[in-house]
Amino acid sequence: MIVDTTEILRLLTDHDRRSEGFALLVEAYTEPLYWHLRRMLVVHEEAEDTLQEVWIKVLSSFDMYRGGAEGLRSWCYRIATNAALDRLRRRCRWRFVTLDGVGRELLEEFRHEVVESADEIEVRFQQALLALPTKQRIVFNLRYYDELDYGEISRVTGISEGACKTNYHYAQQRVKELMIR
């Protein structure tokens, strides 16, 4: 799907046509953002609720957006990533576990979220991803599934491009190890 972010941005900055621009933004990014959240949070209801929060946040904070059309996608992903991390951190607080420790809980929940007809290799692949440290998992997902370049991933995660490449490399190696076991 080709997204004309220039047109979306033009409509969003026009106060009278903002809702039109927002509808286009929702149309373009609902699916990728949902899947990004789902891969982070695993449970459908959690991803669904967070996605609604993300859209409200996008619209309410758009006046503060200073990037161009090319940065619109990474800005939406950044809001979504932060919203998902907030949810995971809230879990940490209640259960006295680290952010990476939540990954083990997600692995448990993952079992209930899998479609019956899923291939074994798909299931094992997701389990391998959930076993990764949170930062590596986010970088890997953004690169592998969402095909963001390292510059965009850097803007989403707030870490340098070099660190993003290193994280992706380590994540790839770890997934390979887990998959051939």
């Binding site: 927002f22 929702v26 609902t30 619209l59 979220e113 899998v114 899923a118 290799i121 997701q126």
Partner: protein, 103 residues
């Protein structure tokens, strides 16, 4: 050693998803956002409402101050007392004999 081939999985994911979820999610997002936008009044109206409230409070304060000034309070008190009450009041403290009245 055999290497894992990422292409063997591709981008497929095993997650279950309710039917028609994305259409519903898009509709809900637009509805919630539109509702939120309608609730958000433009800045001009916010300033106008705030200015009106400030003016009303200042006006009420000035009126209250004037209403309770000593002169106004005395005049109001006099006006509230009927002539009959004034007469009784005068009689009570009267030390002049009846015959000495001028009327």
């Amino acid at each position: 050693m055999k290497e894992f081939d990422f292409d063997s999985v591709g981008k497929r994911m095993p997650y279950a998803l309710p039917e028609g979820f994305f259409e519903q999610a898009k509709r809900e997002a637009v509805t919630i956002a539109t509702r939120g936008e309608q609730q958000r009044r433009p800045l001009f109206f916010k300033i106008a409402i705030a200015a009106a409230v400030v003016l009303a409070v200042c006006g009420a304060a000035v009126w209250f101050e004037d209403f309770n000034s000593p002169e106004n309070r005395y005049e109001r008190m006099l006006a509230e007392l009927s002539s009959e009450v004034l007469w009784e009041y005068a009689c009570e403290y009267d030390t002049i004999a009846d015959g000495e009245y001028l009327y």
